[in-house]
């Protein structure tokens, strides 16, 4: 199979991840957010697997596996369970209206493309669009963390950001340590979930709205 085809597939999958990122921003209901996150993770897994196949770098399959099992399945379920266990109300609390969020998101994508495409002219063609896509996914994830109020959505935003990073890593030809990195991130995510759950069972906070959690905010002088 020829090079160009493989690139196109890679870019197709990358674009899917980005679309999933947008759909994350678009959702109004918590469970829908979780589902579209699961979908993004799935797409990421596919991308990783495809890169593993194209660059015939077997260790990337492992990354793909992590993405599939941990992110696409375990984490969404865990969050589902959390939301029900903690009785978090199911609507997404937005700080910025969804319409505006989308517009900003588009602007961010434009920015990253404007930045990356001229830059990577020299770099291996494989990485060209993928990098732009990955960067946009990162920025979108951050945007989500900023514009969504409650903790679950913020965690999801964080994981989306991280998906972008993994996407960039896997599409960087021959980059070592991708596996270790994705494991490290999985640890981070695990800790986040653990933290949320942990605070809850300590009966310290009534809701998971992080803003509420900051009610102290240090140093009242």
């Amino acid at each position: 199979m020829n090079q160009q085809f493989s690139y196109d597939i890679a870019h197709l999958i990358g674009a899917t991840v980005l679309m999933a990122g947008f759909s994350l921003l678009y959702q109004r209901r918590l469970f829908a957010v979780l589902n579209s996150f699961a979908f993004q993770a799935l797409a990421l897994a596919a991308a990783a697997a495809w890169q593993a196949h194209v660059q015939d770098a077997p260790h990337l399959y492992f990354t793909a596996a992590i993405a599939l099992l941990f992110k696409a399945i375990a984490v969404p379920f865990a969050l589902h369970w959390l939301v029900e266990r903690l009785g978090i109300h199911r609507a997404v609390e937005t700080a910025l209206s969804i319409g505006w969020t989308m517009i900003v998101g588009v602007a961010l994508v434009a920015l990253s493309i404007m930045l990356v495409l001229p830059v990577t002219a020299a770099a291996a063609a494989l990485t060209r669009e993928s990098l732009a896509l990955a960067m946009s996914v990162v920025l979108l994830g951050m945007l989500m963390m900023i514009t969504r109020r409650n903790a679950v959505t913020q965690v999801v935003g964080f994981m989306a950001l991280e998906n972008g990073l993994i996407l960039a890593a896997v599409s960087a030809k021959g980059m070592p340590l991708v596996v270790e990195i994705s494991i490290a991130f999985s640890v981070l995510v695990a800790m986040t979930l653990f933290g949320i759950f942990f605070f809850r069972i300590r009966e310290r906070f009534d809701s998971l709205d992080v803003a509420y959690l900051e009610s102290y905010r240090g140093d009242r002088s």
Binding site: L111, V210, A211, E214
Partner: protein
Amino acid sequence: MLIAGALLSLPLLALFAVLVGRRDAAHSITYAGCFVASIALLAGGLTYLGGHDASPRLVLPLGLPWLKAHFRIDNLSALFMLMINLGAAAASAFAVGYSQHLPQRRRVTPFFPLFLLAMNLVLMADDAFIFLVSWEFMSLASWLMVVSDHTEEENRKAGNVYLIMAAFGTFCLLPAFGLMAGPGGDFTFDAMRIKDLGLMGGFLVALLAIMGAGSKAGLVPLHAWLPLAHPAAPSHVSALMSGVMTKVALYGMIRILLDLHGTLSWHWGAGLMLVGGITAVMGVLYAVLQDDLKTLLAYSTVENIGVAVIGLGLAIAFKGDGQTELAALALVASLYHMANHSVFKTLLFLGAGAVISATGHRSLTVLGGLLKRMPWTGTAFLVGAAAISALPPLNGFVSEWLILQSLFKGPAMPHWAMKFGVPVVGAFLALAAALAATCFVRAYGIAFLGRPRSTDAAQATEVSFGMRWSMVVLAVLCVVLGVIPVTVTDALSHAVQPLTGVQFAVSADLGWPWLSPVSATRGAYSGTILVMFGLALFAIAIFTVHRLGTQAIRRADPWDCGHPEDIPQTQYTSQSFAQPLRRAFGHTIFQARETVVMPEPGDDAPATHKVTMFDPIWSGLYAPLGRVIGWIADHVNRLQYLTVRGYLLMMFLTLVFMLLVVAVRQQL
């Protein structure tokens, strides 16, 4: 060798004072050691003032690794070493007795030797780094002594203002040196001398040097810390800070402006001269209205610094205009005044210290009649007061006479700014001199004459031997420096010659006792002759009077226009003495307002008289600055209380901003 030994002994003394500070003897021993060390340094300074150009150098592997620490004693340094260590010796001798009944003395004694060390190092430093380190260390050591009596709220405030202003000064000098050293960073003074700063560079260096050294010397409006800090310290330290440390500051100014900074235009001299004039007048106006003796002395320091700076400014102006003869004259005048001030201001502060230790009071309103109870202190203080009031034949007059002489030559410069500026500055100077006399008549008359206004003053007793004699020696020095002016100017001209290029010399056709700058016909002064004739006339007067008339004396109650009151409170107080001046000067400058409340007839409430004044510089410059900082701080402080989301937003915006920057710069 002598100098090195003395310098090394100082930190050891500090250590000693720290370790055994519990014992009374330790303090006396430390101060005695300081006395010996400063005498040694004095001697060292004398040996190097000889004017031989082989000034000793020393390089130690300290400080900046590639720079090392350079030390050098040239004539200027030697001269200032004389001034500094003279005052230091007197203060140390005074402190031997004074420190015994000093509260918190354990917070003073250890830092005193370090203070001396720092001041001497500033004079010997031959590269910018060592200079600034010693300079700042000097502030640090003196700050610790200013806040020694730390339980007093205002002392802590004084400490704050002092240290912050000191840092301001350093942060002015630092860039100045940076500019002179250049990007390469060769910080040795030798390298700076040969460097040619451009027009802009020269401008900045001069400005920063004047601001930096000026803030330490107490030029208006950067003087604010001085009247707070100097009184707060124990008197022997105040004596050093006022009489001596300000000279170190002026040394810095001279070193940078006249030695390192090769290319000064006369404009800077003119500007500096004007600042000096304003400083002199403002300082004395503040001083004449003070009630606290030490605050009064501190403000009078501001005045004298102003006077010295007038001379300095003139010297720079003349030099910039190429008239080196006159430059030498003005510089000699300025240095003469610095030397004088270091003598009599030290004396006066020590006198104040003696008064405090005898009565426990600083406020004039509770003093009075001390001359009869403390004859030595009183007489010494009188000499100091007369000297600082520029009365012949004492030293204060000679230097003011020289400054006026050089000022009168100012219009000889072909610049209209000078032609019109000099007379104005002259008026300032004259006003300052006259007001200084008023100020010290008031201070002395209220504190030492009349009848005691409080029991503490009534029960005052003369201070101990060492304190007494340290004052007397200084008083004698006031007379000597005034009576043999030519000898002094010869000594000074050693230091002046390398800076102005010409040797200052009195005109030969009159000879030794006559101080006649430029030429004999331009006006001359001879303290020696004047004193001889004066004494002769004095003797004649007494003789003839006692010949023609009786010698009978009858002691009686004061007549007081027929209705004497033996209540001491009926005397003029410091406030009432100041009233005419307050009306004449304070009304506009200090917004001085008097409110008198007279009770109705039959009402037995006491009548009250209240004076309200406000400090234009503090409330016009410093207070607003503080308010601005507070306002900004309040608004910045909100950032402490955002939510995680808020912080993420800040992060996000930073990222996007930088990405945009890169995007734009890549397109260009």
